[in-house]
Amino acid sequence: MGEFTIKMPDVGEGVAEAELVEWHVKAGDPVREDMVIAAVMTDKATVEIPSPVTGIVVWLGAEIGDRVAVKAPLVRIETAGEGGEIRTEIPAAVTPAKALEPPLPALDLTKGTVPKAATAPREIVAVPAEKPLASPAVRLFARENGIDLRQVTGSGPAGRILREDIDQFFAHGAAPFPAQVVPGRKTTTEEIKLTGLRRRIAEKMSLSASRIPHITYVEEIDMTALEELRATMNRDRKPEQPKLTVLPFLMRAIVKAVAEQPNLNATFDDHTGVLTRHGAVHIGIAAQTPAGLVVPVVRHTEARGIWDCASEMNRLAEAARTGSATRDELGGSTITISSLGALGGIVSTPVINHPEVAIIGVNKIAVRPVWDGTQFVPRKMMNLSSSFDHRIVDGWDAATFVQRVRVLLETPALIFIES
C-alpha cells in the first residue's frame, strides 16, 4: 500500500492560491483515476481537479471556503502501489468549466479633457510615444492622484510638465476650456476586482448566459381590471394584511399556468441531460438590494393564497435587504420572476436563473391609449418579458404559457377560481 499526496495545481491564472469551493469526495471514498475530486475557484473561473490515481481518500487538506496555495497538499489517497507526491495537471478539456470574463467598467477618475494651451504656443510638440517629461516629484504626485501624464500638456521648457500644469489640469480638466475645446483622449483605466456578491452574480449570470440558449417573448397585458381589483383589495384589507403589489397576483397566475405546462416549472441538468419537473412551485423573486441582486424564494406558492404570497414575499424581501436571509431562502427556486418595480421599462431580456428553464420579467405599468374597435381608450398596460430555455421550451409552448398568464391577469377572477 502506498499513499499519494496530491498538491494544489497551478490553476494557470497567475494566482498563488485559489479558493476551494467544492469537494466531490470525502475521507474514505474510493476514487478512480481522472475522477473529479474537488473544484477550486480563482477570480475568473471554477476549475475542477481530477485525481491522478485510483485509491481511497484518506485525508482532505482544506475545507470549503479555504484559500489553498499552489503546491500546498490538497488530498491524500491510499493506493495499491507505491506512494509519492503529485501535482495534478489541469486537463485542457476540464479547465474552462465555468470560465467567465466579466467586462470591467473602465472608470475615469479624472474626467479630464486636455486643456489646450492657454498661453503662448509651445515650441515643442511632444512625440506621443515618448514618456512624458516631468521631474520625479511631479511624476509621483501625478501617479498618487491617478493622473496619466500623457493627458497633461507641459508648459515647461521642452514641453516639461510642471506641478502647475497638473493643478491646471485639475482645475480645468472637467470643464470645457474657453475657445479651442478639444476633447482629450482618456487613457486611464481602473481595475476593480469583483468580490463577494458581485462576483457570485457575475459567475451566475455568465453561467446562465453561456449555457442556456435563451428565447425572450414579450407580450402586453391590460392590467386595468387587475389594478381595480388590487385597489379594492388594498382598500379593504385587514390591518394585519400586507399591501398587495402586482407580484402576488402574478405568482398565483404562474401557479395556474405551470399546472397546465409542467415543463416550465422545471430544472434542467445539462450534464446528465435530465429535466426535473417540480410539483412544488418555488418562485424566486429577483430583487435589488443595496449589496446587489439577490433572489429570495417564496416556497410552495402552489399552497399559498394571495395574501400569504404577499406576506412571505415581504418577509423575504426584508430579510434580503438586511442580509439576514438564510441560504435556503435564497436558493431552490423552480421558476423566477424578475421585477425592476416602477423602473421596469417597456421591455427587458431577463436572464434565466440557472438551472431553471423560465423567467418572467415584469415591466412598468403605464396608461396607454388602446383601440377598442371604435375609439382609443386609456388602459393600464404592462409588458411581460419572459425568457425560456430553448432546449426545453419551444417558441409555441413559450407563447402558450405567456398567453395563459395574460388571460389570467386580464381576467383576475380566473386566478381565484378553483381549477
Binding site: 498538491k7 497567475g14 494566482v15 498563488a16 492560491e17 499552489v70 503546491k71 498618487e144 521648457p157 521642452a158
Partner: protein, 465 residues
C-alpha cells in the same frame, strides 16, 4: 515545526531585498527577511564594496611605487613600496563587516525579523527555511524574491584550483605572479587592473573584438590606453579553450586562429553572472521567465499574483542601485501606494582606470532611436582641476535632442568621474535641457565644470576650448 505568519516575506538580503524590507518596516508592514549567508548580498560581501576597497588599495600602492621608482612628475620621492595583501584583504573585510552589521542594525531598527537560512518554497505562499535551530515555516501574504545572481563559469574552465571567480579573487592572500583574466567586461577589467597595480603580470582574454563591449569606442579608448601603460596585455577576439595538462597555463585561440599558451598562477573567469533561480523551489512555482530571468512587469510583479521579484534575478542591468530602487518601490506597492517603475535612466559606473560613467543614451543609441541629436564633448585636458590632480585623461559628453536641446544622455570617462553619476542621473530625471546645465553655476575648480562646458559646447559656445 515553528511557524511565522507575516504580511511580507523577502527572500534574500542583498541590496534589493534589504532595502525592500527596511522600507516595508518603515511603512508598518509586518516583514520577515530570509538570508542564507551574510546580509548585504553580492554587493557588500563579494561585489561592489570589496572590489572598490581592493581597487583603492591597488591605486594607492601604484602611486607610491611610481614615487619610489622616481617616476612621480609631482616631485615626491619615497624609498620603497611594499604591499601586504593579507593585510589589505583584512582591511577590506573590516569594511565589509562594518557594512553588513550596519544592514542588520537597520533591519532591526525597522522592526524587520531576520531569519538566517536557505528559503525553499513549499507552496505559493509558504517557504521553509532550514535554520541552525531547525526548520522554520514562514507564511506570507506577499513574497518578494530577491535571490540575486552568481558568477557564470565556462564549461572548459570550471571553477576550482587555479580557476577562480571574482568572489575568490577578492579574498586572495597571496598576489598571483601571473594572472589571466578571462572576460573583458567591467568586473574582469576592474580586478585585472587592481592586480596589475599591485604587481601581477596580467593578461585579459576577451572573445569579442572590443573590451567593455557595452560602451562605445570613444569611452573605452582612455581605458585601453591605461591598460597598456600598466603593462596589461589585452587579447581581443580570443577564446579561452582550457587548461594545459599540468594546469599551469591557459590555452587560448587568438584572433588569427593560432593557439597560444598563457602561463598563469591564477585564472580569473569573469564572463558574466546568472540569476539564482534554482534550489529554492522556484522551478515548481512555474513563474514566467524572460530568458533565464524571472519575468516582471513595471511593478516588479511576477506572473503569479502576490509574488514579486527584484534585482539581479530579474535581469539586466544587474546593478545594486537598480535593485534598491525596485525594492523600495515594491515595499510601497505592498503598503498600498500607487507606484510603478518610471525611471528615465539607471546610471552605470565602471571602476576601471580611468572610470567610466553613463546615464541615458549614447550618441549611437540616440541616433538608432531616430533622434536628431547634438553632442557636446569637453576634455579633462582643458579642465584645471584635472590637471592639478595629474589625471587629465578622458572627457565629459552630453547628448541632446537637436530640436529641443532636451538631454538624452550623459557620459564621462576620467579619474573620479563615478561621482558625476548623481548629477547625470539628476539631469536626466528632471528632464534637463542643455540650457539648464549651461545655466547652472558649476563650482571652480572642479571636474564637474566639464559638464557645463560640454553643454555649452553642444550649444555652440564653449568658453574654454
Amino acid at each position: 515545526m515553528k511557524e511565522i505568519v507575516c504580511k511580507l516575506l523577502v527572500i534574500g538580503a542583498g541590496p534589493g531585498g534589504y532595502v525592500c524590507a527596511i522600507r516595508a518596516g518603515q511603512l508598518g508592514i509586518d516583514t520577515v527577511i530570509v538570508e542564507e549567508s551574510k546580509p548585504g548580498g553580492t554587493c557588500l560581501n563579494v561585489g561592489c564594496i570589496p572590489s572598490k576597497a581592493l581597487i583603492h588599495a591597488a591605486e594607492e600602492f601604484a602611486v607610491v611605487r611610481r614615487m619610489a621608482a622616481g617616476r612621480s612628475p609631482i616631485g615626491i620621492r619615497v624609498a620603497d613600496a611594499a604591499i601586504d595583501l593579507a593585510k589589505t584583504i583584512g582591511w577590506k573585510d573590516g569594511i565589509v563587516g562594518r557594512l553588513t552589521s550596519g544592514v542588520s542594525t537597520l533591519l532591526h531598527k525597522a522592526n524587520v525579523k531576520i531569519v538566517h537560512g536557505r528559503a525553499v518554497f513549499r507552496d505559493g505562499k509558504t517557504v521553509e527555511v532550514e535554520t541552525e535551530t531547525g526548520a522554520q515555516i514562514i507564511r506570507a501574504d506577499t513574497v518578494v524574491i530577491a535571490t540575486g545572481s552568481e558568477p557564470v563559469d565556462l564549461a572548459s574552465l570550471p571553477f576550482g584550483g587555479r580557476v577562480i571567480s571574482s568572489t575568490e579573487a577578492l579574498s586572495l592572500k597571496d598576489l598571483p605572479e601571473k594572472l589571466v583574466v578571462v572576460g573583458g567586461g567591467y568586473i574582469g577589467l576592474e580586478l585585472g587592473t587592481a592586480f596589475a597595480k599591485m604587481g601581477s603580470e596580467v593578461t585579459v582574454v576577451e572573445a569579442l573584438p572590443q573590451i567593455l563591449p557595452q560602451y562605445d569606442a570613444d569611452l573605452v579608448r582612455p581605458v585601453l590606453r591605461k591598460l597598456g601603460e600598466l603593462g596589461i596585455r589585452v587579447l581581443t577576439s580570443a577564446k579561452a579553450k582550457g587548461l594545459s595538462g599540468d594546469g599551469n597555463a591557459l590555452f587560448v585561440e587568438a584572433a588569427d586562429s593560432q593557439e597560444q599558451q598563457l602561463p598563469a598562477d591564477r585564472i580569473l573567469v569573469t564572463v558574466g553572472r546568472k540569476p539564482k533561480t534554482t534550489g529554492s523551489g522556484l522551478e515548481e512555482l512555474d513563474l514566467d521567465r524572460s530568458g533565464p530571468y524571472l519575468r516582471i512587469d513595471e511593478r516588479c510583479r511576477t506572473s503569479m499574483r502576490g509574488i514579486y521579484a527584484i534585482g539581479d534575478v530579474t535581469g539586466e542591468p544587474m546593478l545594486a542601485h537598480r535593485a534598491m530602487a525596485q525594492g523600495e518601490m515594491v515595499a510601497e506597492i505592498v503598503a498600498g501606494r500607487k507606484r510603478a517603475w518610471d525611471k528615465r535612466c539607471i546610471p552605470a559606473v565602471c571602476f576601471t582606470d580611468p572610470e567610466i560613467v553613463t546615464a541615458g543614451l549614447s550618441p549611437g543609441e540616440a541616433r538608432a532611436q531616430g533622434y536628431e541629436i547634438r553632442v557636446g564633448q569637453f576634455p579633462f585636458s582643458a579642465n584645471g582641476r584635472a590637471m592639478t590632480m595629474h589625471s587629465d585623461e578622458g572627457f565629459v559628453r552630453v547628448v541632446a535632442r537637436a530640436d529641443s536641446n532636451l538631454v538624452l544622455g550623459l557620459q564621462a570617462v576620467g579619474a573620479g568621474v563615478s561621482e558625476l553619476s548623481a548629477t547625470f542621473a539628476h539631469a536626466m530625471e528632471m528632464g534637463a535641457r542643455l540650457e539648464d546645465i549651461a545655466g547652472t553655476i558649476h563650482a571652480h575648480p572642479t571636474r564637474s565644470e566639464a559638464i557645463q562646458e560640454a553643454a555649452l559646447k553642444a550649444l555652440g559656445h564653449a568658453l574654454h576650448t
